[in-house]
């Protein structure tokens, strides 16, 4: 679903990258390693996912495996949407 990727990329670029280095962030690059996420960054990400895709994110879901790169975010959102069906 290309729109998920576009939405996720747009969100990350506007809110964490502020438009800089946007093209440099590869799909599988860790946002933690890049220093893009601080403690509120995780909360910002979760609010974005819940608001935009109308899914709920459980506490157990809050792990870097689900949230720490654009590709992981896409896979996670797809999974959540699938579960919600």
């Amino acid at each position: 679903m290309p729109t998920i990727e576009a939405d996720v990329r747009q969100f990350v670029e506007d809110n964490f990258l502020f438009g800089r280095k946007g093209a440099e962030l590869k799909g599988d690059e860790s946002m933690l390693d890049q220093g893009l996420i601080d403690s509120t960054g995780v909360l910002e990400l979760v609010s974005f996912i819940e608001d935009k895709f109308k899914v709920s994110v459980a506490d157990d879901d809050l792990v870097p495996d689900n949230l720490d790169s654009i590709n992981r975010l896409i896979a996670f959102i797809e999974l959540k949407l699938e579960e919600a069906k």
């Binding site: 502020f18 220093g35 403690s39 509120t40 995780v42 910002e44 809050l62």
Partner: protein, 651 residues
Amino acid sequence: MCGIAGIKQFDGQPVSRETLERMVVALKHRGPDSNGITLHGSVGLAHTRLSIIDLSGGIQPMSIANGELTVTFNGEIFNYVELRQELMTLGRHFTTTSDTEVLLQAYAEWGEDCVKRFNGQWAFAIWDARQQKLFASRDRLGKRPLFYSVVGKTLLFASEIKAILTHPAVPKAIDPIGLDQVFTFWSALPPRTIFRGIQQLPPSHSLSFEHGKLRVFRYWDLDFSNRFDGVSAGELEDQLLALLTDATRLRLRSDVPVGAYVSGGLDSAITAALAKDLNRERLCTFSVEFENAEFDESHYQQEVVRRLGSEHRSVRCTHDDIGRVFPEVIRHTETAILRTAPAPLFLLSRLVRESGIKVVLTGEGADEAFGGYDVFKEAKLRRFWARQPDSKSRPLLLKRLYPYMKSLQSQPAAYLKAFFQVRPHDLGSPFFSHLPRWDLTSKLKDFFTPEVLAATYDSDPITATADNLPKAFAGWDGFSQAQYLEATGLLPNYLLSSQGDRMTMANSIEGRFPFLDHRLLEFAAQLPPRLKMCGLDEKHILKQATKHLVPESIRQRTKQPYRAPDALSFFDPDAGMARFEYVDALLSPDSIRSAGLFDPDSVSKLVEKARTGAVIGTKDNMALVGILSAQLVVEQFVNGRPVEVPEAVTV
């Protein structure tokens, strides 16, 4: 407290009075009571005075020995009474009762080493006509500022940068390396400032200019090499209280009434209580309150005030209040800053001034001396965790550190681990305690333009700092190392400057800090770390020693760092707009582009985020305040355009 300025011509040309007059005008707020200029051929000294000790006799610049020694002096030598006595037994005669004359006679008697005998807060310059030498010095902790610049054949110095900038030959430009340091450590590191070609004399240093040579040298350092041995904790508590009481007693020496700040925390409660006990007069106390409950500590302030029975006044800050005074605040900080915290203190010193008080005691320094800051606990926990890196429970301890940070409380362990993780090479770093903080702050540099990044490419601010550490540093325990870094870093360069001297002097108020008496700091440096941080109980020995002075609720409360609302002071998310015109104007792509420090597109995205109330994290808030304050520095000092903000409409 006062403002000082001076000029020395290397080429022997006479100093112009007009040039000095311009410098004096720029420093008027530091000394509104009177001013003076003294010319000695190629040397000129100037002074603006806030009269506190010897109201009639302390006029400056002051000369002794038939004009052979002349001084311009900002600050206080608190032990001047004892020094005066000692100097008289050595045969020296005094014509006034001021500490200024004691300073001069002490220099006449002991030369450059005189500063080692001073207990106080000072920045001064002496013209020694006998030796044709200019001698200047700044106190041990950097409570009082001193900037200087050499342009062509002229040495200029002053209490504030704005006085130096009045000289037409001084360039008005931002130093990218200084800016890079602000975006790493929260301040430029002395001798650097964020202005190109303008230096500051580092704390604990003196400067002499003689035979055409400028020499800057250290006369004191904080040393953690020695420990009290075989002394019981109880005995050390008694010694601590005796020293702190004496430090407070000296700081009550004044010919005008002395008030006290009450933050609601432990340290100011202690200094205010000691002041109350030592002084028979009615004590006036002052506090900042916040309309935003997340930052407000008025409940605790009231408890302290009830106990003191002081005459109390407070100023209640709204988001608008902070945003409104911010341009003026930056005119006084003379640097970009990453938090708005100085602004409420500007409003507080205004309240003090309006109440007719000129001098206030504060609790500044206790956290450095006795290990009160979270950074000390954080480092302790990270070391503890690094011993068992796979432990699931150890990283969760970090949550206990920051109970006031809601976002951290909801963090899963996996993320805590990532934020506070100890990398293998960190453990051996002299900056172990401070790396997470500096790393986080450094992320703000993503907003720099390619030009600023290129100009700072070759200078790693952290590595550069390592060269300035004392030789013994590597042999100290981690806790002492962290204490040294705080006491010589953030304390002088931000807390005592942007948040201290500049905010009090902006309203002609003098701050005094009993905890920063060097005798107390030297004593505290010899205490075993476990008496300072007992388990995770910070400032343990201080709490024990002062049990009888403060309400139990204040002693027991969780420490809350002093903070103020940041992005919310400039943007109103409910209205979806900036609160003030200047915010829109200075953050506009045109202004950003013209200043050349930050990327206009990135700033626009950050502004958009702030407008919608989505700037909630530490990093984004610091970025917004850092960028806006840097823009205010450029507009007011480089472009020389005043930033006007309409007065609040009182309903």
